[in-house]
């Protein structure tokens, strides 16, 4: 074979290969359904669930793949409506809600059972919630349930503060004490309920040093920690010890209080006034910045907790001093004064005065003479969950939360079997030990291969579970997922799994391709704490110069997002947004066109004006623009590494270049590297965020920017915004609440801590014979509604929007379940 023939050989094989590949794209076009569509032999649904589940324990993991599995294995108080995701009765037959929307009483059905046959009662829910919030459980979703009274304090190892027989309440230390009357009891009154209904107790960090740091700046709180005459168990003995000055601590105290404060040393002179003077003297000596830095401190023999605290403080101060010394060295090398000043700001102050820590040392050093301010750990028994009897459960919240019922569908609130957890410890989830309470129970588990579940005959609703079982396959590769589906080896697969290159092909199969708006958004968060994006006008300029319609067309399966909450998911809220928007338009005296233009948020002209007005003039340069003064070396657009994230970033980079003349550099990181980098605000400029709502209420999006520590990724915090949301949640009328939230949202859009980009869409497939499985906004399934339809005449055909198709079987089942609500 000559060289020519060699080349011929290869070109021919290349052409054959290419034609194979190209051919594959056109073969399926003629069929009604995608690939092989054969009704399965068994009445078992085969579902690709994504990543291998971390654990079958519903309270630990926060993962999406697991969530689908948990809903099959565990019933909750309430279940999702298969279409709307609103809560419907499950183990709770019906419920009552207190007038203040902060207490819920659930009436449980009497025939609920575990898969081992044991009855499932209100006590199981009490146990499960206490376990879920217990610090040693290390649940990663527990924070969802912090609305339950004292749950956050219990989960975070916090303590109540007791002086004598009285606990300090939040009202005691609030700047403006609330004088709301205690509401009448909701449901039967019990001792525990009295405790829950009493004014909220103050909770502080369980760590002594952190507690001391929290006490120091709050004068009102500090007062509660001051020594009083009542604190002396034995004033004369203590005064005598200090006066005699046997140890360095006593010497220090004696030297730092007025001499007459120690009059109590002689028991006969220890009048009430003398005791008070002694207490004042102790306060004076203890409230001194120098306490922990005394030379004598190192040589002091202290009881264990005080010694440890002293060590921690000393170590922390040394660490800070060392860090500052390093900064000093760096400053010495700098020449630029401005940079020097900037560096100077990064220095850390020493811990300084910590009155409560000092008092703690005294309490520990003189245990027989001084009564401590007691720190009482918050226990599981303190959280707002109470079994009134075996079949009645009361949950008390710390604040009104109209969305709480919807939150209860979440896996965290589903019960775990005390009998198995206590017997087997963390191994209770192994297939040989596991006990569940859902429509299905574990039959076979082969990690990374399949999890097979079968209908649980012990389940209270087993008669209405249509499938004999479900096989969950942990497959993550999108192409493999689609292959299995196309070959008819699976009946449905998880959301976001059709590869981008296949979307155009599969979207022709409308009966199978599920493409509807999702309870999820994508946005770029600004680091609002670093210039230049600390200026809201600059932030708006960057948002105004993005054409979102074009972006969504480019992305194919998303819709433009103009606000914080996705539209089309919460219809009532959408109406409230329109109404409030109109009010604001009139307040601002804008014409409808102007308002509309502002809302569409694509207005490059205005964007350039904002930049011009804020010190970054944009000039015309040829066909485009340039903005030479914008510090592109100080901003980066950061995203986690995926192909689609890169495409979006490049698209938006091009828009800024075109409309503002600014080229923002791109950077990408592996997911687990990216998350802590973004969340700790180390990034400069912008970072991608995705948010899937935790429950079906706009608050799950609005709360992203609520409070000092939030999930928004922007570092944004505005007390005014927090206040607006608090007010909204205290509003009991749903419509007024929506309007108040809408006000807050418009306020947030003015501040614009993020660039809203897209409302995400579901992107998965199911075979036409799978019924009762809907592309709802969370892609969450109430598995007992799902059935396989053997009659091809009844398969999904020519479906435009499956959510609008009525299925009598599903609706009857839903109606029957809901009928208990009015009992």
């Amino acid at each position: 074979m000559s060289r020519m023939r060699f080349i011929q050989f290869y070109s021919i094989s290349a052409i054959i290969l290419l034609s194979i590949v190209l051919n594959s794209c056109s073969t399926a076009g003629g069929n009604r359904y995608f690939g092989s569509t054969k009704f399965p032999k068994d009445n078992v649904l085969r579902y690709i669930s994504g990543a291998e589940p971390e654990s079958l324990d519903p309270q630990i993991s926060s993962g999406q793949p697991e969530a689908r599995i948990y809903t099959a294995l565990y019933d909750g108080l309430v279940e999702f409506d298969p279409k709307t995701l609103q809560p419907i009765p499950s183990i709770a037959e019906n419920w009552e809600i207190s007038p203040g929307v902060d207490e819920f009483i659930f009436h449980l059905r009497k025939n609920a059972r575990w898969s081992d046959g044991a009855p499932l009662t209100a006590n199981d829910f009490v146990y499960s919630l206490r376990r879920g919030f217990a610090p040693e459980t290390t649940s990663r979703t527990a924070s969802l349930g912090y609305f339950v009274k004292y749950a956050e304090a219990f989960n975070g190892n916090q303590v109540f503060i007791r002086r004598g027989d009285k606990f300090i309440t939040e009202n005691d230390v609030a700047e403006k004490p609330a004088d709301a009357p205690v509401p009448p009891p909701f449901g039967p009154e019990t001792d525990f309920h009295k405790f829950l209904h009493a004014p909220a107790r103050l909770t502080l960090d369980g760590d002594t040093l952190k507690r001391a740091q929290a006490v120091e700046p709050n004068q009102k709180l500090k007062e509660f920690f001051k020594f009083t005459a009542a604190d002396f168990k034995n004033a004369p003995a203590l005064a005598a010890k200090i006066k005699n000055g046997g140890d360095p601590l006593s010497q220090y105290l004696a030297a730092n209080m007025p001499a007459d404060a120690l009059a109590c040393a002689a028991a006969a002179d220890c009048s009430d006034a003398a005791r008070q003077a002694f207490a004042d003297g102790l306060n004076k000596a203890t409230d001194a910045a120098s306490f922990f830095t005394q030379d004598w401190f190192a040589g002091l023999t202290l009881a264990e907790p005080a010694k440890k605290l002293g060590d921690v403080v000393a170590a922390e101060n040394k660490k800070r001093a060392d860090a500052n010394k390093k900064i000093d060295d760096e400053i010495a090398q700098l020449t630029d004064d401005a940079k020097k000043a900037e560096k100077e700001k990064t220095k850390k102050k020493p811990l300084g005065k910590l009155f409560y820590a000092n008092r703690f040392v005294l309490e520990q050093s003189f245990p027989d003479e001084l009564a401590p301010v007691e720190a009482v750990p918050v226990k599981g028994e303190d959280i707002g969950v109470e079994a009134l009897d075996d079949y009645t459960l009361r949950i008390t919240l710390r604040q009104p939360a109209p969305f709480f019922l919807g939150l209860l569908t979440h896996q965290f609130f589903r019960p775990v079997p005390r009998q198995a957890v206590e017997k087997w410890g963390k191994e209770w989830v192994r297939p040989e030990h596991i006990v569940t309470c859902g429509s299905f129970k574990v039959k076979e588990y082969r990690p990374y291969d399949k999890l097979v579940v079968e209908r649980d005959p012990n389940n209270w609703d087993a008669a209405n579970v249509h499938l004999d079982g479900i096989e969950f396959y942990p497959v993550e590769e999108q192409a493999t997922t689609l292959n299995l589906y196309k070959a008819g080896a699976v009946d449905a697969f998880l959301n976001h799994s059709v590869p981008a290159s296949w979307i155009d092909e599969v979207r022709q199969y409308k009966d199978e391709y599920m493409n509807l708006p999702e309870n999820a958004t994508s946005y770029y968060s600004f680091n609002v704490r670093k210039p230049p994006f600390d200026n809201p006008k600059i932030r708006q300029a960057f948002s105004l110069s993005i054409d979102r319609v074009a972006l969504s067309q480019f992305r194919k399966i998303t819709k433009p997002l103009y606000h914080i909450t996705p539209s089309g998911i919460f219809p009532d809220y959408d109406r409230a947004m329109d109404k409030v928007g109109e009010e604001i338009r009139q307040e601002k005296k804008l014409t409808p066109e102007e308002w509309d233009k502002q809302q569409k948020q694509f207005n490059p002209e205005l964007a350039r004006k904002f930049l011009n007005d804020n010190g970054f003039p944009v000039n015309k340069a040829g066909d485009g623009f340039e903005c030479p003064s914008f510090p592109t070396d100080k901003v980066v657009l950061l995203f986690n590494t995926t192909e689609s994230n890169r495409q979006i970033a490049e698209f938006i980079q091009a828009q800024w270049k075109q409309n503002l003349g600014i080229t923002v550099p791109l950077n990408n990181m592996e997911f687990k590297t990216f998350l802590p980098f973004r969340n700790s605000l180390q990034y400069q400029g912008l970072a991608l965020s995705l948010w899937s709502g935790d429950y079906m209420d706009p608050y799950t999006f609005l709360s992203l920017h609520y409070g000092e520590q939030n999930d928004g990724g922007a570092g944004f915090h505005d007390p005014k915004y927090d206040k607006m949301l608090d007010d909204a949640n205290a509003e009991l009328d749903p419509q007024k609440r929506n309007e108040k939230m809408a006000r807050a949202e418009y306020y947030l859009i003015d501040q614009l801590p993020v660039i809203p980009l897209t409302i995400n869409a579901t992107n998965w497939m199911k075979k036409p014979y799978v019924k009762g499985m809907y592309p709802n906004p969370g892609t969450l399934f109430a598995w007992k509604f799902i059935y396989l339809e053997p009659d091809p005449a009844k398969w999904d055909t020519d479906v435009e929007n499956l959510m609008n198709v009525s299925d009598p079987q599903v609706e009857n089942q839903l109606r029957a379940l809901k009928s208990t609500m009015t009992k």
């Binding site: 971390e54 989830v429 082969r446 990374y448 192409a479 493999t480 998350l675």
Partner: protein
């Protein structure tokens, strides 16, 4: 030698996992600081690093890699022994297939040098080498699952073994064919083959008893480590065909920052590879009379 090497590898891996940002509990939704502290306390991550290293090493030396951080309630040893057989099955089958095809093709090509067989098998070998398995795999799926409907496109089953095994074998078969051809060509021209022929041995004996033994030495030194790599699981093929093998788990454990599992698999693989290299060294002695161990 193997043990200290393995310990060194473990130490390096441990350091790398530690340097990588993120944790096994890193998630989209930020954890409250108190919860993060609880997690650190529960898994001993709040101790100074040298203590953590000491504890880890002490456990490793005793052969106890502890429990997976990600998959609560499963021990590392259990996970490795559960998933190694999947990888090993596919690996051994692919290895045997590659040897059969590669040796046959190589020998034929060398015997009929410059014939159509030679060009054909050399070309196929070039193709096998230059088509990566993430291309070959899907291509085979297309033909055998979607055109012919003969074989399932993925997941573990008897019929499902065929495609991953062929995909995996292709590149090794190609390599072995080339090595065999080259080795055989060289050996068949050597003096001792001429001597064997001169003795009047028939061609079959010359080829199989004398030629092949010398000709496949390069193949042996290649296939030793290759077998270890095949047994250990191959990430791409296991991903494409959704095989629950060790390679798949290994990648996932790194992405999950599941430190005990990463260390366990690294230790297991490094020992596996070192043992196979040792076996290869020993087998030289049996194949080539010129190599003898004292």
């Amino acid at each position: 030698m193997i043990i200290p090497m393995a310990l060194l590898v473990i130490t390096l891996t441990w350091a790398l996992v530690r340097i990588a940002p993120g944790n096994f509990y890193t998630q989209e939704k930020k954890l409250p600081p108190a919860v993060e502290e609880n997690i650190k306390k529960k898994y001993g991550l709040d101790k100074p690093w040298y203590q953590q290293y000491g504890i880890m090493m002490w456990n490793v030396v005793r052969g106890d890699f502890g429990s997976s951080l990600k998959y609560e309630g499963q021990t590392v040893n259990e996970i490795i022994w559960r998933h190694f057989p999947y990888s090993a099955t596919i690996g051994i089958l692919a290895y045997v297939l590659a040897l059969l095809i590669g040796l046959t093709a190589g020998v034929i090509a060398s015997l009929k040098q410059n014939s159509i067989f030679d060009y054909g098998s050399t070309s196929l070998a070039m193709l096998g080498l230059s088509v990566p398995n993430f291309v070959l795999g899907p291509l085979l799926v297309l033909v055998f699952s979607f055109w012919l409907y003969w074989l399932p496109p993925a997941r573990w089953s008897l019929a499902g073994l065929v495609l991953p095994v062929v995909t995996l074998a292709a590149i090794y078969a190609a390599y072995i064919a080339r090595l065999t051809r080259a080795g055989m060509l060289e050996v068949m021209r050597s003096d001792y083959i001429r001597t064997a022929r001169a003795k009047g041995l028939d061609e079959k004996t010359v080829l199989l008893r004398h030629g092949l033994r010398g000709g496949i030495i390069p193949v042996v030194s290649f296939t030793g480590p290759a077998l270890a790599a095949l047994l250990a699981g191959t990430v791409v093929v296991e991903k494409v065909f959704a095989i629950p093998g060790l390679g798949n788990i290994f990648i996932q454990s790194v992405l999950n920052r599941d430190e005990p599992l990463v260390l366990g698999i690294v230790a297991f693989l490094s020992i596996l590879i070192m043992v196979f290299n040792l076996l290869v060294d020993i087998s030289y002695g049996f194949l080539d009379p010129r190599i003898r161990y004292e």
